[in-house]
Each structure stands twice: as structure tokens, then as C-alpha cells.
């Protein structure tokens, strides 16, 4: 696996008196899909939030691409090769699908405000729209670019949100419940999609759907009440008694 792309150690996040994460560690290696699972309130999304500047880090160390790094602010992530989708998808309903995806490529659009206001950044626009078209292809939505985002069925919006995250050419992609709210057919698509994305980016995945997690993940970390209770391959985690007790229970047997 080589050295890790992303390494978090001793991460603790406190909200007032509540400890949301307690001394958690996680490693992500190049080409890996790593799952983060646990019951509701276990701290999965908090970990994403801490990593992406949405939640305050009380203590903890971060290593990115082999080097120690301060906890990044949200707007610095894309330049560190990190992209994230949100549970709430968050497309702009009145923009076209293509424009929605273009929003994700802002790191490539750093021309001056004055030039942009004068309409002199035409090449920039063209570059972004072409890149957005490619990103849409990768999520099997290439024919939908001109549609308004609010005309899309929910499962497709999930894929478009991923396309938007791909616009920054991430080396690390954080997916927050990509299969949440999807039916079985769309979950199949999502599985295939995640397998395909692996060739270009490592993926850290928060997901409730066990069939997705077990299908796509190389390794899994299990959180419960803000603490890491297990880690390993899907097979190892599935058989871990602590995990079964805490979380998988009936679902693992299924």
C-alpha cells in the first residue's frame, strides 16, 4: 500500500461538554476505498467535518501526502487535493446541471475579478464547461448537462454532486452517504461508480448501507459513541464481536 495519503491520529472533537470524537485515528492509502461506519451519532460526519474545517478540532494530528499539516480551512481543501460531497447534496435548483458541476472547479478559475466582470475570461469558462462535461460522463450523466438541476430525480442529483466534487481533480474524495435514500438499482450504479473512481482518487466513505460498504471498501473503521471500536477488511469487521454488538447486529446477519 505504500505510505499513507491521509493520516489522522489522536483526533478529539468536543462540542462544549460533549466529546463527539475521542482520540480517533484513520489512514487512507493511495487507491484505497475506506469506509467509516457506525450507528447514528457515532461521530462519522463529525470526523468529516473536522477534516473539512466545519467542526473545531480540539486536538489531533493530520498528515497529508506524507507531511504533517495544520487542520485545513474549508476553502483550502481543493488545493490540498481533497473534495467532499455533503449528505444534503446541495445543488442549485435553478442552474443547469453543467453549471452546477462547474461550481466545483473554482480552483481553476482564479482570474482577476475585474477581468471576469468585463467578460474577458472566456477561455476560463470554456475550460470549466469542458471539464464539467467530462466529470458528468464519469458519473453516467453526460446527457443531462443542459437540464435544470431541479428537474433531476433524486438519485441522479447524488451522482451530479459527485461530479461536482470531481471537478477539483481530488486525490482524496470524501463521500458522505452517497447511497443514502437510493433504491437498489441506483445503489448498483453507485457501487460501480465508486469502483471506477478508485482509479483516480482514494475514497473515504461514510455510509449506512451495509451492502455498499461491504461491496466497495478495502478497509473499514467502525465508530461508536465517538470512539474507534474496530478496523479491518470488510470480512474482519463483519465478524468482529464488538461491531456486531454495537452496530451491525441484525443487519450483518442479513
Amino acid at each position: 500500500m505504500g505510505s499513507s495519503l491521509l493520516s489522522i491520529s489522536d483526533l478529539t472533537v468536543k462540542f462544549g461538554g460533549l466529546t463527539a470524537l475521542s482520540s480517533v485515528h484513520i489512514d487512507l492509502h493511495p487507491g484505497e476505498v475506506v469506509g467509516l461506519i457506525g450507528p447514528n451519532g457515532a461521530g462519522k460526519t463529525t470526523l468529516f467535518n473536522a477534516l473539512t474545517g466545519f467542526a473545531p478540532v480540539s486536538s489531533g494530528k493530520l498528515t497529508l501526502h506524507g507531511e504533517a499539516h495544520d487542520w485545513p480551512k474549508s476553502h483550502q481543501l481543493v488545493d490540498l487535493g481533497i473534495a467532499r460531497t455533503l449528505q444534503g447534496v446541495g445543488l442549485f435548483p435553478d442552474l443547469s446541471v453543467l453549471e452546477n458541476v462547474m461550481v466545483g472547479g473554482q480552483r481553476f478559475a482564479k482570474g482577476s475579478v475585474i477581468r471576469a466582470a468585463l467578460g474577458l475570461d472566456g477561455s476560463n469558462e470554456k475550460f470549466l464547461s469542458e471539464k464539467a462535461a467530462i466529470a458528468l460522463e464519469r458519473v453516467y450523466a453526460s446527457s443531462l448537462g443542459e437540464k435544470r438541476a431541479d428537474a433531476l430525480p433524486y438519485p441522479v442529483t447524488k451522482r451530479v454532486a459527485i461530479a461536482r466534487a470531481l471537478m477539483s481533480d481530488p486525490k482524496i474524495l470524501l463521500l458522505d452517504e452517497p447511497a443514502g435514500g437510493l433504491g437498489s438499482q441506483d445503489i448498483e450504479w453507485m457501487n460501480g461508480l465508486i469502483h471506477n473512481l478508485k482509479t483516480d482518487t482514494s475514497i473515504l466513505l461514510v455510509e449506512h448501507h451495509m451492502d455498499v460498504v461491504m461491496n466497495v471498501c478495502d478497509r473499514i473503521y467502525v465508530l461508536n459513541f465517538g470512539e474507534l471500536i474496530a478496523e479491518g477488511t470488510p470480512a474482519e469487521v463483519r465478524e468482529n464481536p464488538a461491531v456486531i454488538a454495537a452496530y451491525l447486529g441484525a443487519e450483518a446477519v442479513k
Binding site: 481543493v78 455533503l86 442549485f92 442552474l95 480552483r107 478559475a109
Partner: protein, 298 residues
């Protein structure tokens, strides 16, 4: 003829209302603040234009200075005052109301300042254009070269903004930052900075309104107050979130005022603004173009 004449008068004043509404909508969209200080900012930029004109003796040269000044003042207000205010009062109900109160206070502050610097005299900031109506055949219409420049200038500014929002990546970033700040940050957008750009655009629009309308009246520390009210009503008519709505709202209000003035009388115009505002809020609170969720593109 009277009907057409009234319509023309209405379009000219409506274009100015539209610009002011545009300024308010741009700030509302980017920071969810109703910027009462906009009238003060526009007054400051117009005094700046006045000063430039008293040196250069050229109205046209003074306009770009007023516009840049208006943009700079607005950027300063957001970056220095609003941003630090947001950092200190970002929780609870105070976070909603504090910025609005701050803009009210700022309006008072700017007024006193301009009064201290320029006094309360009615200054003349004059355009070289004639305010005498064009003559068509034997009929002189109440629409002068001055009015024409107002309408064309206002439409030009609106066109520029529409193009920025519709066709440029900056426009995309502005919309993204105002409606989905989290997503925008994750996309690498410096949301604070982009919002300041939105304020600057608003300041520029307000400055154009001030520079265009003042030659038709006079310049004093509170000469744009009524324009703020009209602009706000126009913005609400248009749905507060919509740039096109602001323009339509401004034109509708201008024409509506002109007809009230013509057919009812001068005494009711000011109250008419509030009556129209209340009617809109009762009948169609989201405005003619406001969307159900209160969000909409250009």
C-alpha cells in the same frame, strides 16, 4: 398623449428606482442583509462625483469616479464592518438583526459625516444635458436628453450585471457563495471575499443611481433617502432575491408613481410607496418574481 407622457416620466424615475433596488438585492443575495446604509453610501459616492466635477468641470469624467468610489465604500463596509460584526455576533437571534441595525446606524453616521464636511446646503451636481423635453411635431414630451441618459445608463448597468451573473464564472461563484456557502467553500471559493465583491457591485449600482438622479434635483446629505424607500419597495415587489425582479419592480413603481402623481396628486406619492409595499406584502409576499423558497437566479 397624457397617458404616454405619464408613462415616459414613470420609466425615467423607475430606472433609478430599479438601480437602487438592484443595489439592495445584490447585498441581500450575498449576505442576507437589508442594507439601509445604501442611501448613505450612494450619497458619499455622489459627493465624490461632485468634488471631481468641481475640479474637472466635467460631469462625464466624474461618473466613473463616483462608481469606483461607491464600489470601494461598499467593499469597505462589508470587509471591515459587516465581516467583523458577523464574527462577533454569529449566534442566536442577534446574528439576524445586528447587521441590519448596523446598516441603520451607518446611514446615520454617513449622514452626519457628509453634513459636517459639505454642510446641509443644496448643492448643484449638474449634467450638461438639457432637461427640456424632446419635441415631436408640435408636442413637447416630458422626456429630455437627461431622462434618456438615465434610462439608457440604468439599462446598461443592469445588462452588465445580468451578463456577469449569466455568463461568467465570477457570477457563478457569486451565486454559489450566497446560496450554498458550505458547498462553495468546499469548492475552494473564498466566500467572504466573494461576498465583498457582491457588496462592491451593489455599491457601484447605487453610485450610478446617485450620479444619474442627482442632476435632476440637488445634492444634500439626505437627498437620496426617498430613493432608498422607493428602491426597497421596488426590490420587495420584485421578490428581493431577483435581479430581474428588482428591475421590473423599479419600473413598475416608477410608472405607478407617475400615474398617481398625474391623476391623483402630489400629496400622496410618499404614502403611496408604503401603501404599495403593504399591498405587495399582503397579496404576494414573495414578490412578482420571488420563488417559493425565496431563491432564484438573475
Amino acid at each position: 398623449m397624457l397617458f404616454l407622457d405619464t408613462l415616459l416620466i414613470g420609466l425615467s424615475s423607475g430606472a433609478i428606482y430599479a438601480l437602487m433596488a438592484l443595489a439592495l438585492v445584490l447585498v441581500w443575495r450575498s449576505t442576507r442583509v437589508v442594507n439601509f446604509a445604501q442611501a448613505g453610501q450612494a450619497i458619499l459616492s455622489t459627493y465624490l462625483g461632485y468634488e471631481v466635477m468641481s475640479v474637472t468641470h466635467n460631469y462625464w469624467v466624474s461618473i466613473p469616479f463616483a462608481i469606483l468610489g461607491g464600489a470601494a465604500i461598499a467593499a469597505f463596509v462589508d470587509a471591515v464592518i459587516m465581516r467583523s460584526l458577523a464574527k462577533r455576533s454569529h449566534k442566536g437571534s442577534v446574528s439576524e438583526i445586528a447587521p441590519v441595525i448596523a446598516t441603520l446606524g451607518l446611514l446615520g453616521l454617513i449622514r452626519s459625516l457628509t453634513g459636517m464636511i459639505w454642510g446641509n446646503a443644496y448643492l448643484q451636481y449638474t449634467s450638461p444635458l438639457s432637461s427640456k423635453g424632446y419635441t415631436i411635431g408640435s408636442h413637447t414630451i416630458p422626456f429630455s436628453p437627461l431622462n434618456l441618459v438615465i434610462v439608457v445608463g440604468a439599462l446598461f448597468v443592469m445588462g452588465v450585471f445580468a451578463a456577469i451573473f449569466k455568463f461568467t464564472n465570477l457570477g457563478l461563484a457569486l451565486r454559489a457563495a450566497s446560496f450554498q456557502p458550505e458547498i462553495s467553500r468546499l469548492a475552494g471559493i473564498r466566500v467572504d471575499r466573494i461576498r465583498t465583491v457582491g457588496w462592491a457591485f451593489a455599491g457601484a449600482a447605487g453610485a450610478v443611481a446617485g450620479a444619474l438622479v442627482t442632476p435632476t434635483t440637488y445634492l444634500s446629505p439626505n437627498s437620496l433617502d426617498l430613493l432608498l424607500v422607493s428602491g426597497f419597495v421596488a426590490a420587495v415587489i420584485g421578490g428581493l432575491d431577483s435581479l430581474i425582479g428588482a428591475v421590473l419592480g423599479g419600473l413598475l413603481l416608477g410608472v405607478g408613481f407617475a400615474f398617481i402623481l398625474q391623476y391623483i396628486g402630489t400629496s400622496v406619492t410618499f404614502s403611496a410607496a408604503f401603501i404599495i409595499l403593504i399591498l405587495v406584502l399582503f397579496v404576494r409576499p414573495r414578490g412578482i418574481l420571488g420563488s417559493k423558497v425565496g431563491r432564484r437566479d438573475a
